[in-house]
């Protein structure tokens, strides 16, 4: 119970801290709107103009992913710059429990973009929020966010081991949302991308959200696979994080100086 309370309160405070950065909010809102605008025009120009809502939701999911990728990838580094990393690591808790709320917060702040793209679609392009299964949509979006937050912990821990995490962030953003089928169906991609997408929680998260919007399939199996994969990432991330923390203490890399 106290662990859940810690995760809840810590996530809330990190969401608050992130939400008060004008730069981060402006970036989180502006980029998805550009992506969603492009998607709408592509869908309109193509043969499926009726899928505009999918474009808006897909752009929102892309934004959640970008937020998790950059937020989690930079989680440790950001804490280090703020001088809070040492204070976090001094807490008598497993390191994963200290970092997971940060990665979860990045997923939560990613939903600002989801809301923005849906509002933008409705106000600018008159895309009605005509969701096939509102209950499933209301459940799948937070569940997908939770799943991506867990995936974020694995990203955060592995990125610490790599010296140029920022460069890796940039190269992972577009390929992951492509192979996860966030905007275009996986079926139109080359066959070899299938297995890659199948092991990513992002694929199942976006599939569950899309299914709830379009009613094209049962939402719960996709959501179940998403959460199972994410849980695996959480466990792996927790193990790596403990290793990373000890290595950082041995190499003196918790502080900037």
């Amino acid at each position: 119970m106290s662990v859940l309370r810690l995760i809840g309160r810590a996530t809330l405070l990190h969401v608050k801290q992130l939400s008060r950065s004008q730069f981060e909010i402006a970036t989180a809102l502006f980029v998805p709107l550009v992506q969603a605008t492009l998607a709408v025009y592509l869908f309109r120009a193509g043969t499926e103009p009726h899928r505009l809502l999918e474009a808006a939701v897909g752009a929102g999911m892309m934004a959640v992913w970008s937020s998790v990728l950059f937020g989690s990838g930079g989680a440790i580094q950001n804490q280090r710059w703020q001088g809070t990393l040492e204070m976090l690591m001094l807490a008598p808790r497993p390191p994963a429990l200290l970092v997971f709320p940060i990665t979860l917060a990045t997923a939560v702040t990613g939903t600002y973009a989801m809301i923005a793209t849906l509002l933008w679609g409705g106000l600018v392009y008159r895309i009605p929020l005509d969701v096939a299964d509102p209950l499933a949509f209301a459940v799948s979006v937070p569940a997908a966010i939770l799943g991506l937050g867990m995936f974020g912990l694995l990203l955060a821990s592995t990125f610490v081991l790599l010296p140029n995490a920022n460069a890796i962030n940039n190269t992972l953003e577009y390929p992951i949302w492509l192979v996860s089928g966030m905007l275009v169906p996986i079926t139109v991609l080359p066959g070899w991308t299938g297995p890659v997408g199948a092991v990513l929680p992002t694929t199942w998260a976006s599939r569950a959200v899309r299914e709830s919007v379009t009613g094209s399939g049962p939402v719960w199996p996709s959501l179940g696979v998403c959460l199972a994969l994410s849980l695996g990432c959480l466990v792996a991330g927790a193990l790596v994080m403990s290793y990373v923390e000890r290595r950082a203490r041995a190499n003196a890399t918790l502080a900037l100086a």
Binding site: S2, Q82, A91, P92, R249
Partner: protein, 329 residues
């Protein structure tokens, strides 16, 4: 004797690598065999020049760094193998602006860390209220930290470090950059903590702070303990000396070197105090160097000239000056 901190032959070497094509590996021995015993309830000072190994020593004791060799125990727990037990019992406060969530309020910062440090939910509100009162931030706790002065941040650091009522508190230069009034309040707070039985390990550059607060002081230089004792015991290191202070304007390095070379002179240093310089010359008690010093400062505008008995600061200078690092400098 119950010990709060015990360190045996504690060593830490930093290893770095520079360059890609032709990498160069560098090794720096920051701490070279430190032995320390700090009793429970003691206020223990660690003094030393920049780069002496103070912060590295503290970080090994508070589990942030793993020693290269040697061992240390805090409250009886090993700092390497019983990390979580140690962390439950210690608080850590460092000086400077960083280390807080600036866009959150003081209250949010304290609530967050109270949760992290496992303060029971039922006690958090009362404990946070007590600490805000202790550090004088009551009424300002809902303001964002980014609007706080350095002194207020420092007090918030202290409140955070005390949330879980640690048995041992590590204070790493807590008064750095803090104005004199805030520094005095901070000293009062630290003295109050020690009075209630909290063991405090304090590093500082300020001799007056160390002399006023500490039961015992260890002087560290070049990664080794050079002297250890009560402030009065340490002053004996400057016994047999007299000190001459000359307020001056425009003393050159060459002039200082010539003063340092005078017969009977042990140390000569210059500090900038406001717009003036303060030349401090330690000499053998049996030798009066005042006339020679003033002769070597001929042409320099001079102010007050004072001869006095050695203080803890003079003892510190003598100890550091005798160390291999000080001698090399």
């Amino acid at each position: 004797m119950a010990l709060a901190i015990e360190a045996r032959d504690l060593r830490r070497t930093y290893r770095t690598r520079t360059g890609w094509l032709n990498p160069r590996r560098l090794e720096l021995d920051a701490v070279r065999g430190v032995d320390l015993d700090v009793r429970r309830g003691e206020l223990f000072g660690l003094l030393g020049p920049n780069g002496a190994g103070k912060t590295t020593t503290i970080k090994m004791l508070n589990t942030l760094l793993i020693p290269t060799s040697g061992s240390a125990r805090v409250c009886g727990f090993d700092v390497v193998s019983q990390t979580r037990e140690v962390r439950r019992r210690i608080g850590y406060v460092f000086g400077g602006d960083r280390g807080l969530y600036d866009r959150l309020s003081a209250l949010d910062n304290l609530r967050y860390f109270a949760e992290l440090y496992g303060v029971p939910a039922a006690r958090q509100k009362r404990r946070i209220g007590e600490l805000l009162e202790l550090v004088g931030l009551t009424g300002r706790e809902r303001e964002r930290v980014e609007g706080y002065s350095r002194g207020m941040r420092q007090r918030l650091h202290i409140a955070r470090g005390l949330l879980h009522e640690p048995e041992v508190l590590f204070l790493d230069e807590p008064s750095i950059g803090v104005d004199p009034v805030a520094a005095r309040e901070l000293r009062n707070t630290v003295a109050g903590l020690a009075a209630t039985g909290t063991t405090v390990l304090l590093t500082t550059h300020y001799m007056a702070e160390a002399e006023e607060l500490c039961d015992r002081i260890a002087v560290i230089a070049g990664g080794e303990i050079q002297a250890l004792g009560t402030p009065d015991e340490l002053k004996h290191h400057a016994e047999g000396r007299r000190v001459l202070e000359v307020q001056a304007f425009g003393v050159s390095d060459a002039q200082l070197a010539r003063i340092d070379g005078l017969p009977g002179v042990r140390e000569a240093s210059v500090d900038v105090v406001g717009t003036a310089q303060l030349v401090t010359v330690q000499s053998d008690a049996t030798v009066d160097v005042q006339a020679d010093v003033l002769r070597l400062l001929d042409g320099v505008r001079l102010g007050r000239v004072t001869a006095r008995q050695p203080t803890l600061e003079d003892a510190y200078v003598a100890i550091v000056g005798r160390s291999p690092v000080g001698a090399a400098a």
